[in-house]
């Protein structure tokens, strides 16, 4: 049972991040998503769009399509991100920090993907028919 979908297409540029977050907020309010879930979804999308811009396109021109969907039957909020950057699964090797490590042993990076995995109920990568990346994020509400 699929409900309303919302779409946004952006250029692969960090200046677009604020627009992406605004889009998430407007859509989440429309779907009456509660604050904590909204924070999680906004954070996860921001992290993955950032990752695609910085590491996927790596300075090259490109576009990212963002699709938001609420499945009323399952109570799942679904985000699908598509891009045409070189194929890469960001979830294939997510670094894990452990509390109590000496700071010199903790790298100042890799936080974003950990946050995505902890914020979302499920997140995975696939390859589209046109040979692009597709990231699917599911947050159970």
């Amino acid at each position: 049972m699929s409900n309303v979908k919302q779409f946004l297409r952006i250029d692969a540029n960090l200046v677009e991040l604020a627009s992406v977050r605004g889009f998430i907020e407007r859509t989440a309010h429309e779907f009456e998503v509660q604050d904590e879930a909204l924070s999680d979804i906004r954070l996860a999308v921001d992290e993955l769009v950032t990752n695609t811009i910085l590491h996927g396109y790596n300075g090259a021109e490109g576009r990212i399509d963002i699709e938001l969907q609420f499945e009323s039957g399952t109570g799942d909020f679904i985000v699908i991100l598509r891009d045409q950057a070189p194929i890469f699964d960001p979830f294939s090797n997510v670094p894990q920090h452990s509390v109590g490590e000496k700071l010199a042993q903790v790298k100042a990076g890799g936080y974003g993907l950990q946050l995505v995995q902890k914020a979302m109920t499920k997140s995975f990568h696939s390859v589209t028919e046109s040979g692009g990346n597709q990231l699917t994020l599911i947050r159970h509400l």
Binding site: L14, S39, L43, D46, T50, A108, Y111, K118
Partner: protein
């Protein structure tokens, strides 16, 4: 229009001198470099302790964690960095509930002290 961050700096003196950096706006990958640049300027001009006032930060993602970690490392220098388990020279003031949740999600709160009262925060630096 892209994300935006405004940065104000003041100096407080208690047990030692502390640069209080007040941030207004959003901390993301687009604004991270502005914060890091300001911190670099302060550290280059002699700042040893830094209190980041997050009262007016409306959004923070992992770019915020990354910049906090980088600044803390620069404040510690290389001498005690190898053994340190806490950001002794960097603390934060008034993070939102959302930011606190991000800190706790990754265990960042174990490294970083957070205060609700600026006087308590200032006195905590030794």
């Amino acid at each position: 229009m892209g994300s935006h961050i405004e940065i104000e700096v003041s100096t407080e003196v208690a047990n030692t001198s502390i640069s209080v950096v007040t941030l207004r706006g959003e901390i993301d990958a687009n604004t991270q470099k502005d914060i890091e640049k300001k911190a670099d300027e302060l550290i280059s001009s002699g700042t040893k302790n830094l209190l980041l006032d997050l009262s007016h930060v409306t959004y923070m993602g992992s770019a915020g964690l990354r910049v906090l970690h980088i600044i803390a490392g620069k404040l510690m220098g290389t001498d005690d960095n190898t053994a340190a388990t806490k950001f002794d020279h960097l603390k934060v003031l008034n993070p939102s509930d959302e930011v606190v949740r991000i800190f706790k999600t990754l265990g960042f709160d174990a490294y970083l002290d957070s205060y609700d009262d600026i006087d308590d925060a200032i006195k905590s630096f030794s």
